[in-house]
Symmetry: C2
Subunit: 580 residues, 2 copies
């Protein structure tokens, strides 16, 4: 019963649902719906898709997340980086504007959703860890820069194309002469207005006495004002006749439920982009979920979140939408407006459905330039070059990985940048793991403590070599361990006993066990005894019947002090007494 | 000067070379030469190559290893598993017996050698760690079984072919009716004789008063007796006319020095097999080198060994030989015979050269069946099914990885088995790394010590949650850490303070730092303070100016006792006093 409920979090919160929560969630849904309309349209256009695809992606996914999600406030839907990745993946298979392009985008959502569900059931969420923070941060920054650059074309009313940031900028410069003055006026005015809404409106609202939360929410839904005003301007001045590009006819009605195009070769060829999209979306989403849950001490289940996001994407695909994930800004609005349960999301879906059914004619004269301006303002908050500086200052390896990710994303595209970043992270991880810190330790005078001889003035018996390896013993460092002991012994001719201090050792795997057996045998051949000290309980249990303990030439000592007190009692007692 | 010498170990031992060492090394070279002749021929045939290719691979590589190698006793040359991998890789590109087949094998040695040298200069030896012990052990066992099966055909005088063990066995059964009785008699007699030499000869020799070492050496060179006797039998009874297959004409003379066939597409397509061959060969070789060095407390440099093995393979390729590596049994013979310097290897090369120049006509009537018998006897010692049992008993994850490697190697081929094994190892590693052991700790009554509450009867203040994570904080577990804290806090409503006990934390990377900052912020939003205790010196240095310490809601405590003594002084002092 419990495990059944685990997969349907709705059963937990649904049971306590009441009229107060309902009213509250309905109010939240209205606010979020208003905010989502321009976002949905804009991100569909960013992905190279018809605008209604964005609306479709903001219905079924929200309802499915409400059923399967464990976050109370996460709002799913199309997001900027996801749309950029969709465009990058799909444009390899089809020409923008063709039915094949739309079909591929929907198939991408489907495959991505299925992958997420699979990862959830197999509890593979840990794979997302390997998209480390510097890589994710660098990738988001580079994507945001590329998205902003791509939106300069619709803002200026020119056409520019490019797979990468570099080719895009070249194309922009080549076509800059075609600027449409009306489009540029609308686009730049929207841009200035939206930047002011984001930076200047809130202080103003606070100044005139509005509370913190309503001020925040008004700031977030501000873009709707730009939409309404520019739409009216274009309609009243008939600017579309002067070359201002408008959204045009958005089909009225709800999407039909249908299986996305299924083709083995298509699905196979979008597997890698779908995996990248899934992981990036998941990392973004889970981080938002944790942040919001913490404020109310709510629980988030990372594996169930995979299933919920997967179901949302499958739902999006089956209702003709593009890939979705939990978005940061819409979730914040949802939370700040006071969403108490995921039902707020389901009601938002109803709100979007009402728009799709009745209000799309109002969007006819909406200029693309305004939507482009909302995208630029939204993504500029994602650019975080300060993080690059901090990361370099903290760790050169992490800084290098982040720089590589940013540069490759800008120069070679989102997939290349991401794959290189993750590859570099794993490579650096394996490298660091394989060479743990090793210290030769000696006794601190006047104590029973043993410390690194490089950092402290310690006393060492030249016939006893005490090595402390600050890592678990397992296959990535098993041979390193053999090497360390071989080195240390070949450099110390007086050595008669080697002690491995195991205070940092949490596990010993089969490889390390074989290495320890080999080390014991080799030391024995060289006339040296091997001892272990500070071995933790669970490891002693595991080692109990193994060849290592049977063949061990020395002993296992509870503490390093005990070991030295056995092997070199005089010096040890003298050092202990030597308080200065 | 020192770094120059690092790449030429010959400069170190060469300077101390004298007449005694020379005489000693010459004697060793004679013994090893006698042992190498049948091995070289047999492993060339196993790789599907003409017999002289094995002799060529036993000259230049030995001289190059003497110059670049750091082991005093390692003997390089063609080995059983390497020959199997060569046959598996090359037979994809060309038909056995064609010049293209020979060319591809030589190119394989070349690419493998260049890869090894590259890995040596880039210090990438740690990559070999990921061929963990259970994988390597399982792979060797499966390869040995497949090699032994493949040699049943020449022993019985039938022809059988198969890429994998399974298809090979099927082919053997299909062709078993074609058995040649003369071949089978020679083959089975050789097999019985060689097994007796290996198991029964040494006790006999010891019994009649021979010393341990000469008995060992006689046992190892025993196969030469089988070779001589069966050659004489085949020659005198003219059995080759009755269908007994013989080695035939082996070209007399030294190999010519030439560049191996260079073709970008060929080299590219053998890159993966070459990499696998390099890593397997290196792991086998370095392990032998360590074992022998330990007996005399000699030093082995793993990176320089990569360069030495790489040079040996390049040398083999340029003199028409197949891929080589440091072999276990020949190195043991070399060591037991008393090799003092790598010069013994160089003299062995001269011995093989003399054979190639003058003695190949003597090999004309040598039956293939005898060589097959020497291979079977040699590889049966590599089959270690007990290791499988031990590994399963010690660790189910390692046992599973080993089983998968064995089964896939037998059923899908050496490359598939090896890649699956390594992939599984890395996957299991990433999985385990991402979920470290976490304990909620409390104070042991009567002490200042804190222990896992699951294992000890400890005292815990319900408002203070002390978490000890037994791992460094870095990106594979950074989000797990966020999850652990979120879980723990959402399950403990009374919590006002969270302490992360950092006694096992050796590093905190940029990802983990971001996670800790996020954890601090989220706990703050939930009205909880975050503290750190037992932070090591180098980590405090690194954290010094970071946002984490600036924004930390709680404090950094030197010890966990100090932390509790600040946050919950009464209970802590009372527990300390509570000695029972």
């Amino acid at each position: 019963m419990n495990s059944y409920k685990k997969y349907f979090p709705i059963l937990s919160w649904g049971a306590q649902y009441n009229r107060n929560t309902l009213v509250n969630d309905l109010v939240v849904a209205c606010i979020v719906t208003v905010m989502l309309i321009p976002q949905s349209l804009a991100y569909a256009l960013l992905a190279g898709l018809p605008p209604e695809v964005g609306l479709y992606a903001s219905m079924a996914p929200l309802i499915l997340y409400a059923i399967f999600g464990t976050s109370r406030a996460l709002a799913v839907g199309p997001v900027a980086v996801g749309s950029l990745m969709t465009a990058a993946a799909v444009s390899k298979f089809a020409e923008q504007g063709t039915p094949e392009y739309l079909g591929a985008a929907i198939a991408l959502a489907m495959v991505s959703g299925l992958l997420l569900i699979l990862m959830g059931f197999l509890r593979l969420g840990f794979l997302a860890n390997f998209l480390s923070h510097p890589i994710m941060s660098g990738f988001i920054t580079a994507s945001a820069i590329q998205i902003a650059a791509s939106q300069l074309a619709p803002i200026l009313g020119i056409s520019a194309h490019g797979e990468t940031f570099v080719s895009l900028v070249v194309s922009l410069f080549e076509n800059v002469a075609q600027v449409n003055p009306y489009t540029a006026a609308i686009g730049l005015a929207s841009l200035v207005f939206l930047f002011w809404v984001r930076n200047g409106l809130k202080p103003l609202l606070l100044h005139i006495g509005l509370g913190e939360r309503p001020a925040d929410i008004l700031t977030k839904v501000g873009p709707i004002a730009a939409i309404v005003i520019t739409t009216i301007v274009v309609w009243s001045l008939e600017l579309s006749a002067s070359g201002v590009r408008i959204v045009g006819t958005v089909p009225q009605g709800l999407p039909s439920i249908a299986m996305p195009p299924i083709g083995f070769s298509l699905w196979l060829s979008i597997l890698v982009p779908a995996l990248l999209l899934s992981v990036v979306g998941y990392v973004e989403s889970i981080s938002v979920a944790f942040t919001l849950a913490a404020k109310k001490r709510q629980h988030i289940d990372p594996d169930q979140e995979l299933i919920a996001l997967g179901a949302s994407n499958v739902g999006s695909a089956m209702s003709g939408g593009l890939p979705v994930t939990g978005g940061f800004s819409r979730s914040i609005v949802n939370f700040d407006a006071g969403a108490e349960t995921p039902a707020a999301g389901a009601f938002t879906a109803v709100g979007i459905a009402i728009v799709a059914l009745f209000l799309t004619p109002l969007l006819y004269f909406l200029p693309n330039a305004t939507l482009a301006a909302t995208i630029i303002v939204a993504v500029m908050t994602l650019v975080d070059l300060k993080a690059l500086k901090h990361t370099w200052a903290y760790s050169r390896a992490d800084g290098a990985a982040m720089t590589v990710t940013i540069l490759l994303t800008l120069m070679a595209g989102v997939e290349a940048g991401l794959i290189a970043g993750v590859g570099l992270s794993i490579f650096l991880h394996l490298y660091r793991t394989s060479k743990p810190h090793v210290a030769i330790v000696g006794q601190l005078p006047g104590t029973e403590h043993f410390r690194n001889k490089e950092r402290h003035a310690v006393v060492i018996d030249p016939t006893v070599l005490s090595l402390r390896v600050d890592a678990s013993f397992y296959f990535p460092n098993a041979r390193f361990l053999e090497n360390v002991v071989n080195d240390a012994v070949s450099n110390n001719e007086k050595t008669q006993n080697v002690i491995l201090v195991c205070s940092s050792v949490n596990t010993i795997d089969a490889s390390a066990l074989e290495s320890l057996i080999a080390i014991n045998q080799r030391l024995k051949d060289g006339g040296i005894s091997l001892h272990l000290s500070e071995v933790k309980g669970p490891i002693m249990d595991a080692l109990h019947d193994t060849e290592l303990l049977v063949e061990l030439t020395g002993q296992v000592h509870l503490s390093q002090f005990h070991a030295l007190n056995c092997l070199s009692p005089e010096l040890t007692q003298q050092t202990l007494a030597d308080r200065d």
